[in-house]
């Protein structure tokens, strides 16, 4: 941020009075511009013993497989955002949504939220952001070609929970991949 979105004058980066964090503050109109984490909402669409994944047509991670999901928009609920993204990326309709995984990603200031959901039919297709959309059984999941850590972790939780037939809501923090320690 370089300029004030209210008056167009330059901003400085300082701690406002009564605050304890650096904020962008307008030198002219003194508006404080807060910046806060974004929410990504998505679905784990299920059909019998299969899950639906989308192969990304866009960066980042073009060509890798993901669950349908994306940035929540103003005016939406989490569930509406998850449904909309599933429709946009996989042209798929889902029902019976249940909150399932919440991941904190503090290094990129995001929270990712996935709902377990049932596909209502098999009339899905790649949306403009997907190269391909298909169903996978557990033994077919392309683990080494998943786009994001939150997608892999949601799938891991799901297959483990399915064996117990118990699906607790999970809140986990996912750190960036650590650098490997040097070999001895």
């Amino acid at each position: 941020m370089k300029f004030c979105s209210q008056c167009g004058q330059p901003v400085t980066h300082r701690i406002p009075e009564g605050d304890n964090r650096l904020r962008f503050v307008c030198v002219h109109c003194e508006t404080i511009h807060y910046q806060n984490p974004n929410i990504v909402a998505g679905c784990l669409p299920l059909w019998g013993d299969q899950v639906l994944l989308c192969r990304r047509a866009i960066e980042p991670r073009r060509g890798y497989w993901t669950l349908p999901g994306g940035f929540m928009e103003n005016g939406e609920t989490l569930e509406q955002a998850a449904r909309r993204e599933t429709d946009e990326e996989a042209s798929a309709r889902v029902t019976d949504l249940h909150l399932y995984t919440l991941f904190d990603l503090p290094h990129i200031s995001q929270v990712h939220v996935f709902f377990r959901a049932q596909l209502t039919d098999l009339d899905f297709a790649a949306g403009t952001e997907s190269l391909e959309v298909r169903l996978f059984r557990e033994d077919e999941i392309p683990w080494s070609e998943l786009a994001f850590k939150t997608v892999g972790r949601t799938l891991e939780c799901y297959f483990a929970d399915r064996r117990e037939n118990h699906y607790p809501v999970r809140n986990e923090t996912l750190a960036p991949l650590m650098a490997q320690p040097p070999k001895a």
Copy 2:
């Protein structure tokens, strides 16, 4: 938003190519300025059969009782935000946090998240944003003087769930208060 935060030139409100929503777009550098929901995180601090509430020293809802909570900051996890707000508003330390309620408030583009938490001691005190902080048993809760609907609903859920000794994570949408129908 009136001006581009990147280059200081005016923005227009239009649907960018390949999008389907109105966005603020810079007329000069063409930066698209996305606006997304904010997260409020807080705690339901417990001590035996009592819960901790704070009487607000600031608007909105000055003088009304609330659970400690506030806007999640960049670089935080949900749990860190809930702990920080509990420390700032009630000078209270909590442990054993469990994700509990998630409320969608689409009319104000916010998601409110509360954690059940145990106070570690009784050494709490009003922070600068609170007039007073105290513990309440269920029959002492000032139901008509609560600051926010998400606070009242979290307390309702808690006292109901406590009777069952079962605390499912809940995701609910809270609409604004409906206008009362005219009396017959």
